[in-house]
């Protein structure tokens, strides 16, 4: 029986999530034994035509060309999984959504008229139907293995949607906000990283995006009690997952307050 065909596509992104696939080391051979790596330009020049059974998509939509290309990829894909903060939330480049891209283009490029770019960076799900989202900046490599394994075995991927705090406590790390007043996005951020930053006495940066029921208002109030300004909250929520709705609403809210209060 032919193995399911795997494709990996890249949109606006840093390639870090694709590299995570190549970084699974021993498991890479296992992956190659259960799926046919049919279209993965970062790994192999060999490209087998679609349709594909499992497609991993990295990156966000930032150009008119990409906005078209993703539809063709969707048509070629039976099961489409977006990987990483860019593909699931628009990525760090979604900061352009609050700015004037024409101004950036004219500042950076000598001949901006050759550019054909959109004014926004948007997640893949805003353009086509997505079957599963794998969060993170970058994704956790073992979570990638889990997604492939779940697909091959015909089950739901075992990926948590609760807060970073659950992983942090399972690890035995005392809360950095409570024990030393370090602002942390962990309570509103989805688990999956293994509570990496709090393990090193730092606050969470929200790389995995909003958790299942984020209470950003109350966390922001707690940050303010630790001395963080509205402007500081805007910066915190506008990170790798700035355009994920709960973080976007929170950052807009605090930006309005920062302006109103003359911060």
């Amino acid at each position: 029986m032919a193995l399911p065909k795997l494709a990996v596509y890249k949109f606006a992104s840093c390639d870090g999530c694709q590299l995570s696939i190549l970084d699974v080391e021993d498991h890479l051979l296992d992956i190659a034994s259960v799926v046919h790596i049919a279209n993965f330009p970062e790994a192999s020049r060999e490209v087998v035509e679609g349709p594909y059974d499992l497609t991993l998509v990295e990156g966000s939509i930032t150009t008119p060309h990409d906005a078209e290309r993703i539809h063709e990829i969707r048509r070629q894909s039976k099961y489409l999984v977006t990987i990483g903060a860019c593909a699931t939330a628009g990525g760090i480049q979604a900061l352009r959504n609050w700015k004037d891209t024409d101004l950036f283009a004219s500042t950076v490029y000598a001949n901006p008229e050759y550019l054909d770019t959109l004014h926004t960076s948007t997640p893949i799900k805003n353009h086509v139907e997505v079957n599963f989202e794998l969060r993170g900046c970058p994704v956790d490599k073992m979570a990638l293995v889990e997604v492939v394994a779940a697909f091959v075995q015909g089950r739901r991927p075992n990926i948590p949607e609760y807060s970073v705090c659950v992983e942090c406590k399972r690890k035995g790390t005392p809360c950095v906000m409570v024990s030393h007043g370090t602002p942390c996005l962990g309570p509103v951020t989805q688990a999956g990283c293994g509570a990496l930053c709090p393990s090193y006495n730092r606050g969470c940066y929200g790389c995995f995006g909003p958790m299942e029921s984020p209470n950003t208002d109350m966390l922001a109030a707690a940050w303010q009690r630790l001395g963080v300004s509205h402007r500081g909250l805007v910066d915190a929520f506008r990170g790798f997952n700035a355009y994920a709705e709960p973080f976007r609403i929170a950052s807009d809210h605090h930006e309005a307050l920062a302006v109103a209060q003359g911060e």
Binding site: H27, N158, Y162, V166, K169, V178, V188
Partner: protein, 383 residues
């Protein structure tokens, strides 16, 4: 008949040594990451001499006391349940190959001595026993009793309760009520640190009998111990009125207070993770990519996650208010129906480690102040 001795700090070191010599992995309080955690100790020098932990709702700070106390803190940031029901436990794993299916050998259960268990925490071990050990005709949870039965418990009475403590309300402290093998009381007496060491079980007495250089306590040392423990009972940071509490909570399922909590609660699950009695687990099955190796892992779960109540395509407790209501009502009301006691020992961890400082004692008091059982909204009871 319990035996009572007294020693200086060297006696505490010798006790740790004696337990290690009996093959126990001795776990006690150590300072790490700007907090007190429970981890392996090798001697008295590993204990948090001169440290204390200031605890308020949502705030914890380690500070130097300016004295030589070994046990001048309140409680560790995480509880002892991490050793009895580890956050992640492989229940079994196995491999299938042409010869057949074989399970991997299970690891030997560790033989612990818990050193510095507060009276509320000793009580919490008793609460966990009712849940996890053989009871109600049910078998014990896999792996629990094997660890629990070998664990040696050295309790330390509380002479300085913390700001979030309410063990007096829950009748679990500040003096150990039993369930320990040995109990220590640390007192500053005539300018010296003195440790009254009492056995609680025959096993505890046997360890003490084998130790050299323990002295008989003087009458004034025993009086000092009793004085400090009486003072401690009067110095609780908080109070929880438990009278009629189960009926109160069960009858206030529609109290608008739950909406107020929903606005404040992060549903981050910190409270349940640090709680010494919260016992919920979930089980993950994992199969290797090639389908030949399977692992079943038990992990701590929390009633604050959506997945916890997910069934038939949706979570049954979608709102955060409903999740908090479930938690506090289980802790202080329906736990009594299940296990004939409350699931709270008054250690105050859920108050301290809540990043936004939600206080279980205040929330219960708020429901009591706005009891809706005799109003039309209260009719219908639990929904």
């Amino acid at each position: 008949m319990s035996e009572m001795y007294v020693s200086g700090q060297s006696g505490i070191g010798r006790l740790i040594q004696a337990l290690a010599e009996r093959g126990h992995r001795v776990i006690g309080p150590v300072v790490r990451n700007k907090a007190l955690v429970y981890d392996e100790i090798n001697g008295v020098e590993d204990l948090p001499k001169g440290w204390t932990d200031l605890q308020e709702p949502g705030r914890y700070r380690l500070e130097q006391r300016g004295d030589e106390k070994l046990f001048g803190y309140v409680v560790g940031s995480a509880s002892w349940k991490q050793f009895l029901n580890p956050p992640e436990t492989v229940l079994w794993s196995g491999t299938i190959n042409p010869e057949g299916f074989m399970t991997d050998p299970a690891p030997e259960p560790p033989k612990y001595a818990f050193f510095g268990v507060r009276p509320c925490e000793v009580a919490a071990l008793g609460v966990l026993d009712k849940v996890y050990a053989t009871s109600n005709g049910l078998p014990s949870m896999a792996g629990y009793s094997a660890i629990r039965e070998q664990a040696f418990i050295v309790a330390v009475n509380c002479v300085e309760p913390g700001g979030n403590c309410f063990c007096v309300s829950m009748d679990t402290g500040p003096t150990a009520r039993g369930g320990h093998d040995i109990v220590i009381t640390e007192i500053a007496h005539n300018g010296n640190m003195r440790y009254l060491i009492e056995s609680g079980t025959a096993a505890g007495a046997e360890v003490l009998d084998g130790m050299a250089n323990l002295e008989e306590p003087t009458k004034s040392e025993i009086e000092a111990r009793d004085y400090f423990l009486t003072e401690a009972a009067a110095a609780m940071g908080r109070t929880l009125e438990v009278d009629g509490l189960p009926e109160l909570l069960k009858g206030n399922a529609r109290n608008p207070r739950w909406d107020s909590i929903a606005d404040r609660c992060l549903a981050c699950a910190n409270c349940t993770m640090v709680c010494p009695t919260c016992f919920c687990n979930t089980v993950d099955d994992n199969l290797s990519l090639d389908g030949t190796h399977a692992t079943r892992t038990r992990k701590w779960d929390s009633c604050f996650t959506l997945g916890f109540s997910y069934m038939h395509g949706r979570p049954m407790r979608e709102g955060i208010g409903a999740r908090y209501r479930q938690w506090i009502t289980h802790k202080l009301a329906t736990w009594v129906d299940q296990f004939e006691e409350m699931g709270c020992v008054g250690c105050g961890r859920c108050i301290t480690w809540c990043p936004v400082g939600i206080d279980i004692t205040q929330e219960a008091a708020a429901i009591r102040r706005a009891d809706l059982r005799d109003t039309p909204i209260g009719i219908g009871g639990f929904v």
